[in-house]
């Protein structure tokens, strides 16, 4: 064991006093220290000094807390986020597998054509002019404006690899039609609230040709179509996240789906006894701010309040996306602020 217990003139080293006070020593080591302490005034004083140092450190560090009280979110919420992440990982893996499979098929078909062309010189000499001709022929038709055909390098590749370009061109046309159908779907104006003469920033924006709400922000692959739903359905869709002001009848609910992992943007319209319609808007910061700013001049907006954030998976892991709530209507801002304070999330 330690020397200082045998030679009484030696004292307890300072690091062992720290370990002793931190309860990091074995029972026998503690017993030795206590025996020495009972007989050594100097070590008693040093023990007190170390205890004071330790207490001061703890006190200083305790001031470095982010909040006075840290409340953990429900464990169930964490579980749900984990299972959502697992589902996303499975989906990504499937997508990756199917992409690899598709790439493999394309490569095999391409290799087949190249091999066939190389191994059959007669076919090569015959097919090349045919292809050039067939590419040149539709140039007068409006469909021929597909940019891929204009590209010299693409044409060169097609010359070598494509014996029958016409079916491929029709496939391009079909794809073009699908994409225009898709884009026309994305440009469908957002619906209005149909149950009352509601302030509808969405309609106004759509009329002015801006239609900002129907366009996804960034490269979101999902359509963001606003939907009008009954209150009960909205409760089910949004879970417990509907902004609502107690005591005022609800006249309509609209919501716009978010990106994966993000809850929808929700507008709850309510009509007070004077006929004034107010709308509580809850959603991601950017969307709500966009709605707040695109208003007619006589429609005001309350200050915003933070609501529970979304947790969205991104390239750097899961991150928090802030959400806010605002109340808009043809009322003074002070009144809207009061209403915003009364708003509950149901």
């Amino acid at each position: 064991m330690t020397d200082w217990t045998i030679k009484q003139e030696r004292h307890i080293p300072e690091d062992e006093l720290h370990a002793y006070l931190d309860q990091a020593l074995s029972r026998s080591q503690c017993a030795e220290i206590e025996t020495h302490l009972s007989a050594c005034k100097l070590c008693q004083a040093r023990r007190s000094a170390v205890a004071a140092l330790r207490d001061r450190t703890t006190a200083l560090l305790s001031g470095l807390a982010p909040r006075p009280v840290i409340v953990p979110p429900s464990f169930q919420d964490l579980r749900e986020r984990q299972s959502r992440r697992l589902a996303l990982a499975v989906w990504r893996a499937r997508l990756q597998r199917s992409s690899l499979w598709a790439a493999g098929v394309v490569a095999a078909v391409g290799a087949g054509w190249v091999a066939r062309t190389l191994l059959d010189p007669h076919r090569t000499t015959v097919s090349a002019p045919l292809v050039a001709q067939s590419v040149a022929t539709p140039a007068s038709s409006p469909i021929a404006a597909v940019p891929a055909i204009d590209s010299a390098s693409t044409a060169e590749i097609e010359k070598q690899a494509t014996p029958a370009p016409l079916p491929q061109r029709s496939a391009v046309v079909a794809a073009h039609n699908v994409s225009s159908a898709r884009s026309s779907r994305a440009l469908v104006p957002a619906p209005t609230l149909q149950l009352a003469s509601v302030v509808t920033p969405v309609t106004r924006a759509a009329v002015e040709g801006r239609a900002p709400l129907t366009r996804p922000a960034g490269n979101d692959p999902f359509d963001r179509v606003w939907r009008v739903v009954p209150w009960e359905d909205a409760l089910q869709i949004a879970g417990s996240e509907l902004p609502f002001i107690e005591g005022i009848p609800v006249v309509g609910v609209m919501f716009q789906p978010g990106v994966p992992g993000e809850r929808p943007t929700v507008i709850v319209a309510q009509q007070d006894p004077n006929g004034e319609v107010i709308q509580s808007i809850e959603g991601p910061v950017a969307r709500v701010n966009e709605l707040r700013t695109h208003q007619p001049s006589d429609v005001h907006a309350s200050d915003v309040a933070r609501t529970a954030p979304d947790y969205v998976d991104g390239p750097g892991g899961m991150h928090r996306a802030l959400r806010i709530l605002t109340v808009i209507g043809r009322l003074p801002v002070d009144s809207l602020n009061t209403l915003a304070r009364l708003a509950t999330i149901r």
Partner: protein, 169 residues
């Protein structure tokens, strides 16, 4: 309630504090703490307490690397109109708290990285063997490191305190 859930309830705040003292962003510290426990659900580590602090330390390190990029993002968010009115502390209180804060963070920054890590892990409630496993120190060296870290923290804090007082007078 399983072991991990129990650990979550008892240690969540300690993990948040630990992360916060490394990255100085309260919201981000909470996000990362939740991330730690979500990862723990998938991994089911044998020694969960040591594991969560090890992962938290790694996340804090990654966070420091991404700090510049994220700082820009946070500035943008700060520009948004955020909360409804909350009671503001008096200006004197705020200044006082800020100065105290600066002294403690300054003192912590004056420690070596190893001393700071050991001190923060100890303050988060880890045992000497757990601290040793995470930092690569021998168990016997943890006490020595802690003794040095505590002494230096207090000395640095008192020095900053003295400088602030002389500056005021």
């Amino acid at each position: 309630m399983d072991d991990l859930e129990r650990l979550y309830k008892t240690h969540y705040a300690a993990v948040v504090r630990f992360l916060y003292r490394k990255i100085w962003d309260a919201d981000r510290a909470e996000d990362l703490a939740q991330e730690v426990f979500i990862r723990a659900m998938a991994h089911r580590p044998e020694k969960p307490r040591a594991w969560i602090f090890a992962v938290a330390a790694n996340l804090a390190r990654d966070e420091a690397r991404a700090a510049i990029r994220r700082k820009k993002h946070l500035t943008l968010l700060k520009d948004d109109p955020i909360p409804l009115s909350t009671p503001e502390p008096s200006a004197e209180d705020a200044v006082d708290r800020e100065e105290r804060w600066a002294r403690v963070t300054g003192a912590l920054a004056a420690l070596t990285e190893r001393d700071r890590d050991v001190l923060l892990l100890w303050d988060a409630g880890l045992s000497y063997p757990e601290i040793a496993a995470q930092t690569g120190l021998a168990v016997g060296a943890v006490g020595t490191t802690l003794a040095r870290a505590r002494k230096r923290l207090i000395e640095a804090h008192d020095r900053l305190d003295y400088q602030a007082r002389t500056a005021h007078s």
